[in-house]
């Protein structure tokens, strides 16, 4: 029994870590702008494609930092183009703009790649096969949770100890007042998008090392699930997003292991409904928000 489920548990922890990295991007943006960044899942996919193209001509030591930098720039650019002009617009307009941006990115990827699935390059060391407790898996499965914990620790330190982190906390508490206190809100928002995209780029490297086919719409589902993870953990809370990500990843993987693959996606959304109905603030939310 245990031997049967162990591979699924391992896969679940790994994919959960990847959801967690994406979910942080959602939760941070939502914390400040009160906006679901629908394009976040597509930024994650773009990072995957960039890696495919970068490694085709460049060595890994160059292409990895290059891909991360390009993804960060893309995240900032998306914010500047699609969200900044709508700062004072009603919430629905911003959300429509986010959906439009996601549509644009998907079509752009389709155009560039010709709509064909691309093979993600095998990254040395992390794509190697290892044996854990008697079951074979890729090394990335094992290191993802540790990497996530390290990154989150670094992020929490950044938010708690540095000046920009303080500005981010202030902006998420009260947008207008933070502005009045002399915080350059646009820089803070750009920085938030940069951090979110950075984590999405790392997440995409982990994710696509496991599931190696990159297609233009592959990021939509992980994106939505990561959002559910963020809501589950209490939107705006980073530890919440991480725990939510792991939990959803593990549950989903175990459901697949139990033979009900069709309903693994359904589970995630059912969870969203239950959470919003029972505890709308999520597990770790600090202050009351207006979801219900």
């Amino acid at each position: 029994m245990a031997a049967k489920f162990l591979p699924y548990l391992l896969a679940g922890i790994s994919v959960g870590g990847q959801y967690a990295l994406i979910a942080i991007g959602y939760t941070m943006v939502y914390g400040i702008l009160r906006l679901i960044n629908f394009a976040h899942g597509d930024i994650f996919t773009v990072a995957g494609f960039l890696m495919v193209y970068a490694t085709a001509s460049l060595p890994l030591t160059v292409s990895i930092p290059l891909v991360i930098a390009a993804t960060v720039l893309l995240g900032i650019a998306v914010e500047k183009v699609a969200y900044k002009p709508l700062r004072t617009a009603p919430r629905m307009s911003v959300m429509i703009s986010a959906i439009g941006m996601s549509y644009l990115l998907q079509n752009l990827m389709w155009y560039v790649t010709g709509g064909l699935a691309k093979q993600y390059p095998a990254l040395p060391w992390i794509s190697d096969t290892v044996t854990v407790l008697g079951c074979q898996t890729k090394r990335v499965t094992v290191i993802t949770p540790f990497l996530v914990i390290v990154l989150v620790a670094a992020l929490v330190t950044l938010i708690q100890k540095t000046k920009i982190g303080m500005a981010m906390r202030a902006a998420s508490r009260d947008f207008e007042t933070a502005q009045l206190m002399g915080i350059k809100i646009n820089n803070v928002i750009s920085f938030t998008f940069a951090v979110g995209s950075f984590l999405a780029a790392i997440g995409s490297m982990m994710y696509f090392s496991n599931y190696t086919a990159v297609t233009p719409t592959v990021g939509a589902m992980p994106g939505l699930k990561a959002f559910v993870a963020a809501v589950f953990g209490g939107i705006g809370s980073i530890p919440g997003a991480v725990i939510g990500g792991f939990l959803i990843g593990i549950c989903e993987s175990l459901i697949k292991g139990a033979g009900a693959t069709t309903f693994s996606d359904a589970f995630t959304f059912a969870l969203l409904i239950v959470v919003l109905a029972v505890k709308p603030t999520g597990l770790f939310s600090e202050n009351l928000t207006e979801k219900v």
């Binding site: 906006l35 079509n107 155009y111 719409t217 809501v231 959304f269 979801k291």
Partner: protein, 386 residues
């Protein structure tokens, strides 16, 4: 002139307009020199117009940001397809499932004793049933979901659409839904063509317009009724609406169910148009497209949604097609033009509308709309005070 007379006149005009339109379409359908692309655009546009208007009823008039449209369309399409596949061909279509299919087909049952009229009756009955199934699911989904606000409602409905899509291809429902395989062979628009001794009268474009037109007319009547005014009040200010005695929960539920009902019908019509159904076509990107149609037309404008859906379908299916083909002018290859470029240009246009022309084509006005009396009075006053 009393209100009643005026209303009567408006209805009469609308009915005459619809009949004139149908006559023109009948001519287009049967003249051989009409480009087939135009007919495609008209057919698909009519179907999208209905689903866009139904989404507008919810998003634009009631202010409920729901993204479940594709899921309800899928329910409608499958309901329709399952009910109308001819009994004889069910065995070959459901070949993977031993006891697949329902064993009868409603249009077939009715057309045996009643002929062509029975076929029409059967199809209308199945369309209504398709809408009812979508509405039933909307009722069930609405119970937990409609309490949520803006973006949470959007994500929850999007999630439900995905759940429905996953459930339909579930092997356990295979004998009914044919799993992840195509459903085809059911009654489509071309079945309405009338053949009289060698000559065929085509009705393939007339029928979708007729069905869509009737449905949109019903939605319009609803919007202009007391219910419609209650919806708008909820959109503008929930708390004020509640204070005025509007039951928020029941009106939201009503709007959600009615919108889903018509989404179900349009899904069934899309199935008729495509002559086949598969769950994979009803992705969330379909909902996004419909949402973008609503935005381009103007949130809160029925005529805007209709215009935008024809524009959207025309440009994505026809007018921008050239962008997808490699083009040579002399020895010079026009850069960028290749497969997929059309959609890029298209999404850039949409982003431009979303960012810079937020009101869309019509804003919240309607075509053929009289200036409301209060606005006219206010304008007069302004003139006088000057």
């Amino acid at each position: 002139m009393t209100m009643k007379q005026e209303k009567k006149r408006i209805y009469l005009r609308a009915a005459l307009g619809l009949i004139a339109l149908l006559a023109v379409l009948l001519a287009l359908d049967n003249l051989s020199f009409v480009p087939s692309m135009l007919l495609t655009v008209l057919r698909k546009g009519a179907i999208y117009a209905l689903v866009a208007v139904s989404m507008n009823l919810l998003n634009g008039f009631t202010g409920l940001f729901s993204l479940g449209q594709a899921g309800f369309m899928l329910l409608g399409a499958y309901t329709y397809a399952i009910l109308t596949i001819p009994a004889a061909s069910q065995k070959s279509i459901y070949q993977r499932y031993a006891n697949g299919g329902i064993g009868f087909s409603i249009p077939e049952l009715l057309s045996k004793p009643l002929g062509g009229f029975g076929l029409l009756l059967g199809v209308i009955f199945c369309l209504i049933l398709a809408g009812c199934i979508a509405a039933l699911f909307a009722f069930l989904i609405g119970l937990p979901v409609l309490k949520l606000k803006s973006d949470y409602l959007a994500i929850a409905t999007l999630g439900f659409a995905e759940i429905i899509r996953a459930a339909v291809v579930y092997e356990g429902f295979g004998p009914l839904t044919n799993g992840s395989n195509l459903l085809y062979g059911f009654t489509s628009f071309s079945n309405f063509n009338i053949t009289l001794g060698g000559f065929t009268l085509h009705l393939e474009t007339v029928m979708p317009f007729l069905f869509s037109g009737i449905c949109i007319a019903i939605i319009l009547l609803l919007i202009n009724s007391t219910y419609g005014r209650a919806f708008k009040a909820i959109r503008d200010d929930e708390i004020a609406a509640e204070a005025m005695g509007i039951n928020l929960a029941s009106h939201k539920r009503m709007s959600f169910i009615i919108s889903s009902f018509f989404a179900g019908i349009s899904g069934a019509m899309l199935a008729m148009y495509q002559a086949s159904v598969q769950a994979t076509t009803f992705k969330s990107s379909m909902t996004y497209e419909i949402l973008l149609i609503v935005v381009i037309g103007g949130i809160g404008s029925v005529s805007g949604s209709i215009i935008a859906s024809f524009l959207f379908i025309a440009s994505s299916e026809w007018l921008l097609r050239f962008l997808d083909n490699e083009t040579w002018i002399g020895g010079f290859r026009v850069p960028l033009l290749r497969s997929g470029f059309r959609m890029v240009v298209f999404s850039v246009i949409i982003m431009a509308v979303v960012l810079f022309f937020r009101k869309g084509i019509m804003g919240d006005r309607e075509l053929f709309q009289k200036k409301p009396a209060s606005a006219a009075k206010a304008a007069k006053k302004e003139v006088r005070s000057k």
